[in-house]
Amino acid sequence: MEKNVLIIGGGPAGLEAASILQKSGYSVTLIEKTDHLGGHLAVWDRLFPKGQSAEELLYRLVDNLGPVNCLLNTDIQSINVLDRSFSVILSNGNILLADAVLLACGFDLFKAEKKEEYGYGIYDNVITNADLERYFQEGDGGRIINPKKIGFVHCVGSRDEKVGNLSCSKVCCATAVKQACEMKQRFPESEVFCFYMDLRMFGRYYEDMYLEAQKKYGIRFIRGRVSEVSEKGDKTLLVKAEDTLSSKPIMVSLDLLVLMAGIRPSASGRRVGDMLHLMNEEDGFFSTKDSIYSQQKSDIPGLFFAGAGTGPKTIPETLNDARSSALEIDRYLKSNFPKKK
């Protein structure tokens, strides 16, 4: 009889792994706690470095899915490790036995209001990267009206001990530069400032994107972290930072401030993790069996990871991670349940 694989999380990682495992002949069940597939991808408009449409990518992933049993609005109620299998009770009461489980719970965006000094949720014209993507997708009901001066704050909730996250969220720099360029495309007359601590343009084409942002769009990159935001009478913002390159305090009035909320471990992922007593690192992401050789394996045989559950990842990285997980799962099932002649 064909083996059951349970995939927890319907984001890019879950979808990609599901379609591969399903095609390699396993019966795959994918559960997603929200009412839509795609996770954060579904609420993003365009993807760096080349501005591909997130919607098209998601459509493609879902299209490849095939006859996978997808359960939306479904969460894990309990999960137990049996001998060589897992018994899972779903929030809809159903019980199912899985020979392998893939944890693809992704990440949560950092709650920008936690950085009180930036006044997210208090000042009208302070928004987050996610808000901006939503605006790109369907507008924002006239909140952003032809801003003359726009600021982007990198590393909001990243590399910041005060909010309990020492690590870099990896994707924000590229996202900020992407969004900055998109804003210049929409508002060519606007002045755009990016406040960064370090620009981490590590990926292919990222540096080109950065160069274009400077050369074509004339975006001003200020090396310094915004320390304080206040609202003026006319709802414009007074932003303070240090220009560390000239080691002078800097002050600028902006019409719109976009906070690059970083990547935090997914709370729901943690919930499942706790049920399974999975260890996690100091940074709150799941600890893998080995940090280099087998990043997709957990300490529990038959339980695997894919995507941002084991640390921030770009979409291509997530997809690759999902593919390797699928491969690991396939290997695992083949070796543990050899076909009987």
Binding site: E191, Q214, K215, G218, R223, D243, P249, M251
Partner: protein, 109 residues
Amino acid sequence: MMDFGFTINKSSRIDLDRFDKAGFDKLAKIEPDVRKCIACGSCTASCSAGQFHRTSVRSAILSIQNAKENEAVELLKGCMLCGKCQMTCPRGINIRHLILSILKFYGTK
């Protein structure tokens, strides 16, 4: 008026609202490379004048962006146009022309 023995200290704060965008755009028309600087400092490090004088193209560009055009001119007055910086610039910025353009644009008004 009474002598208190002190007066209000001048603020060292840069007010970006005073940045002259139109002017900078004009400069960028004359030498588009001005936008390409990544502040690596190679120019300052290799500068022939640099060992005698605070010449620095990197800082000059920054000064203009920080609405301190005169400071930029001061930073470049000592330049001898030897072109070493241009050889070391990783972004291939046409530095000598940039310097001449800055001196012409902000220095001869």
